[in-house]
Subunit: 232 residues, 2 copies
Amino acid sequence: MHRVPAPLPVSSRKAGRQIDPLVLTQAQREALMRIGMRQRLPPRTVVYREGDEARWVFVIVEGAVKSYRELRSGRRLVACFLFERDLFGLAENGRYVNTVETLVRTTVYRLPVEDLAALLKHDGAMQFVFLSKVTYELREAQRRSTLIARRDAAGRLAMFISRMGERLGRNSTGIVPLPMSRTDIAAFTALSLESVSRAAAALQRRNLVVFDDRHRARIVDPAGFARLTGAV
Amino acid sequence: MHRVPAPLPVSSRKAGRQIDPLVLTQAQREALMRIGMRQRLPPRTVVYREGDEARWVFVIVEGAVKSYRELRSGRRLVACFLFERDLFGLAENGRYVNTVETLVRTTVYRLPVEDLAALLKHDGAMQFVFLSKVTYELREAQRRSTLIARRDAAGRLAMFISRMGERLGRNSTGIVPLPMSRTDIAAFTALSLESVSRAAAALQRRNLVVFDDRHRARIVDPAGFARLTGAV
DNA sequence: CGGACTATTGAGACTCCTCAACTAACGTGG
DNA sequence: CCACGTTAGTTGAGGAGTCTCAATAGTCCG
């Protein structure tokens, strides 16, 4: 799923055991389990709100969430979607910066900030995993910027679908799951809901993508699709 | 300058000595100096190119650089501007993802990836500083997305100037240094050069900002300016 | 001082946004 | 299980804003 975005790639060579710095070893997993707890959340559950005191850090075991901010204008901007193995809940000045809400039933590890900080200080390898995860998020954020930098709505949506395909493991059938709503996609791509809708219609009209249902896109012309996606 | 964006804010309380997790202690500085070297670079120097093998990580001691990517269309997108104390050169799959070029004369620390990785593994506190820096970059990237999400060019430019003011220490005179060119601002804000130029003219016409010269903006109506900046 | 690059300003085309009406999907309670 | 109400999404028309192209002015460096 994640493709080794190691901030310091060499370590994976040296460590030997740890091939993908985003995946925890069994021992590390157990160490985390000692300080944290597993939590199961129904869909549309707010995990925390922007401005709340940041007492926990979360790692997704299974499921999907969105991280968003409410702007003064009332407009909502989705900063990112997060899936299995992603990390969230990093604080700024001791407070959460975004609101996080589950899209579907989601299982997370909830780690108390204080205990985690202590653990990371003593376990360099473990902290390295966290560093890798944050670096990964940084790349994602950059990708989002290049996506938004595009002018054409169809191109933005295509890039979005393409990215989801890579993250959620596009199986050979070309089916990309889209667990979020059209409104969420609009809030992520910085388009209006109407434009997302029209863009989806346009992709379908051009025979690039078929939307089997609202949460499933099927890429029927990978070549043409890639051409559009890459035409940045 | 940087406002304590601790990923795990508690540690700064516990550590006692280390108030700002983005600033290194003297001992840490010395440890880095042992493995790295100081390097002085003239303006417009390419530090590394996208795709190069990532052999070093850099920390800016003084100066300013831009980090950008060339898109297939030939269009150039500036991912971020980096200043004193900022970190850059994190790899993805062992290669740099952006091209980095100095804007002005710049002094950097050049740290070999392998030695740094080894050092971080053994020094949790040091790694924590790096984790904080990457978290800080992540926030910056998010801010850029919200900036680009705006439709109006004047608002985008105002937000950009505001951000530079915060990062580069807007002195009480309201003067904001802009070490980059208009073209670079355009490539960062995802506007055309012409739109940046027109936006600057508009801000000046509305008596919000005066451009003393191309690299110096003076905010003459902080209230009105803040109103525009906040009207997201 | 000259030449190349960078920036400003104007006019027209293009694209998305807003507003509005309508349709589809969902889930809640009887 | 169905009916209803609410929310989410689609489609159309007109307006706002930026982009492109073009010409001109300014700036920086050798």
